[in-house]
Structures are given as structure tokens and as C-alpha cells.
Subunit: 202 residues, 2 copies
């Protein structure tokens, strides 16, 4: 019997450097599957239909909600965002590890539906670094920076809901840490029961 | 407040290559502490008092038992073997990770006293490799090899009691896996609570 894959939920506020970390993690884990979000906002210029999102109509999305076809979803300024259940379940059943990138609310919803999921929170190394990263190139207003900082701190205060916290100070360390968690999850005894039986039955 | 260290319990039958793996793990994790066993058998020629064991008299050992100074102990052909509690607890409280190498019975006893311990079982990659490793250079009698094989399989059948199973096929992979488990344990959210509070209180 094949072992099911693991589901990894990753969250982190803007300023955590989450996207850069994840891009490198996927380079190091070529078999890891990325769960593409389904969204209803219009495609932007330059976006591809097979990129980071799958674009559907509001009607299609509401149909998915009705049929419990989403692991989590949210409505943000009039657009729906969600994680389709089928892609995740098919890949897990096929033995693949799947990674879902969602915000802290989405993480909570997925955890409720799939309590065996392993959740990681990517965190900036300090308040000062967070502030510097959010201020960016200094083109945003102080008010906007303050707002983004508030939102980031709100997310960080919920890091305690996660299984692992990855501090993204040096990129290569953060990548190595995420990869360690992914590897470790496959060393758990629950993944080795068939292997053990195979040896002792001889 | 400083985080306590993690206690790692490692077991594995002869033929698992456990000692070779551990020697490399300690090279890669210089801060990891090895819990030295206390034993009552006489020192062998060439053994040093500060090596792999601490040698005490039977009287001293039985005194340690009486005063609950051992996390686990055993009596094997008239000699006591045990894991002193103080060394482990002092280092954990000092923030150090500690590794204890014991058999499957010792692992069970330590787990009962310290349920937060993380246990790893080092396993040969197959029955055939196990048999080949135990046959060694062919100087042992078939009967002795058979006996050691039985004992090893008995231990492997109890691998299910452990948190992680490390398959020692290629040495460097097994070492990397053990190191991953050690690293992961320090990424758990329980180790990061102070860090999170530090950021959000600003």
C-alpha cells in the first residue's frame, strides 16, 4: 500500500519574504506539488491562466462552495479566493506532498478540515526588519506602511496556531528549515509501517 | 526565558549501523550532548573512564536506583547499565539538546518518564542487508549469526513505538535524516513563543 503524501500549509505576512522562500523550496523539492488557488477576479495583464491562479466566474465559484469543493475560501474586496479540494486530495492520495499557501484564516479553515496537515508560519526576524521591508523603496505613504505593519503584526500574533515557525533572516537558512520540515514529515513512523512489516515478515 | 533543549532517544539493532551514523551526527551537531551510560561491569583494557561509559560499583548503582537517579536501567548478564537522570536534566534545562542511545526497552522506560522526548529508530534497509551485516566477516558460527538476526528482528518489530524511523542504506542519507529531525524539533512553535511575543509587543 502506498503512503499518502503530506499536506503542508504555509502562511506568513507581507514582509516575511514567504514568496522568495517558497520559490527556492520548490527548486529543492521538485516532487512537491503547489496547490493553485481558484479566484474570481479578472485576469491582469501579463497573467497566464495556468500560473499562480485558476480564474473562474463568480457563479462557478459559488457552485464550488455549495458542493463543498473548497478546503477554504475567502472574499476579499468583492473577489473570491479559495483552495480547491480535489487537486489536494488527488495528489495526497497519489503519494505526493502538497503545499498550500494561504493566510492565517485560510490555514485555520484547512486545519479544521484536514487536521493531519502540517502548518508552517514564515516570520520576519525582527520588528525592525519587518518595518524596513514593508517601507520598501520609500515610495509608499507613511500611512500605508503603518497599515501594512498593523496587518503583519496581526498575522504574527497568530503564528502560535501553527506547528512550525520559520524565521526568515537569511534566505538560505529559511529555505533549509522549510525543506527540513518537509523531509522530517516523511521520516515519521506512520510512513514506515509497511517498510517495517516487510523486513520482519522474512 | 530560555527554551529547554530536546531529548532525543536513539535505538537500533546491531546491523543498523547506528554507531557510525551517530558518530557523524555528532560531528555535524557540535552542540548536541551525548548522555554517557553508567555501568557496573569492569573496565576493559584500553577503555577510558571518560569514554562511552561511566564506571561505578554495584553498590553505587543500586543506590542510584533507590534514589530514582536513573531514567532507565537494565541488568545484562550480571552487570547494570543505566542512563543517569541528572546529566540529561541539567543539559536540557541549560538549553542543550541531549541524545541518549539505548535499546528498545530503555527507550520505552525513558518515554514513560519523559513523554516529550523525541525517539528515533535506526533501521537496516532490508532483511538481506541486515543478514549480510550480521554475518560480518564470516568468522562467526551460523548459529550465532542466526541468534543475532533473531534479536535484531525482535527490535525492528518494536520500531513502531518510535516517532521516527531512519533507514540506514547510504550512510550520508541516514546522517542527514537524523540531523533533519534534530533541526526540525527546534523549529516547532513551542520553541518560538518568546520570539513571537518579542516581535508583537513592539
Amino acid at each position: 500500500m502506498m503512503n499518502k503524501g503530506n499536506l503542508f500549509i504555509i502562511s506568513g505576512p507581507s514582509g516575511s519574504g514567504k514568496d522568495t522562500v517558497l520559490a527556492k523550496v520548490f527548486e529543492e523539492c521538485p516532487k512537491l506539488k503547489f496547490s493553485i488557488s481558484t479566484i474570481t477576479r479578472p485576469m491582469r495583464e501579463g497573467e497566464k491562466p495556468d500560473g499562480k491562479y485558476r480564474f473562474v466566474s463568480v457563479e462557478e465559484f459559488e457552485n464550488m462552495i455549495k458542493n463543498d469543493m473548497l478546503l477554504e475560501y475567502n472574499n476579499f474586496v468583492g473577489n473570491y479566493y479559495g483552495t480547491p479540494r480535489k487537486y489536494v486530495e488527488d495528489n495526497l492520495n497519489g503519494g505526493y506532498d502538497v503545499l498550500v499557501e494561504v493566510d492565517v484564516n485560510g490555514a485555520k479553515l484547512i486545519r479544521e478540515k484536514m487536521p493531519e496537515a502540517i502548518s508552517l508560519f514564515i516570520c520576519p526576524p525582527s520588528f525592525e526588519v519587518l518595518k524596513a521591508r514593508l517601507s520598501g523603496r520609500g515610495t509608499e505613504s507613511a500611512e500605508l506602511v503603518e497599515k501594512r505593519l498593523e496587518a503583519a503584526l496581526g498575522e504574527i500574533s497568530r503564528a502560535k496556531e501553527f506547528d512550525y515557525v520559520i524565521i526568515n533572516d537569511k534566505l538560505e537558512d529559511a529555505v533549509r528549515d522549510v525543506v527540513s520540515v518537509i523531509k522530517c514529515s516523511n521520516l515519521k513512523v506512520s510512513k514506515k509501517l509497511d517498510f517495517i512489516d516487510e523486513i520482519i515478515k522474512k
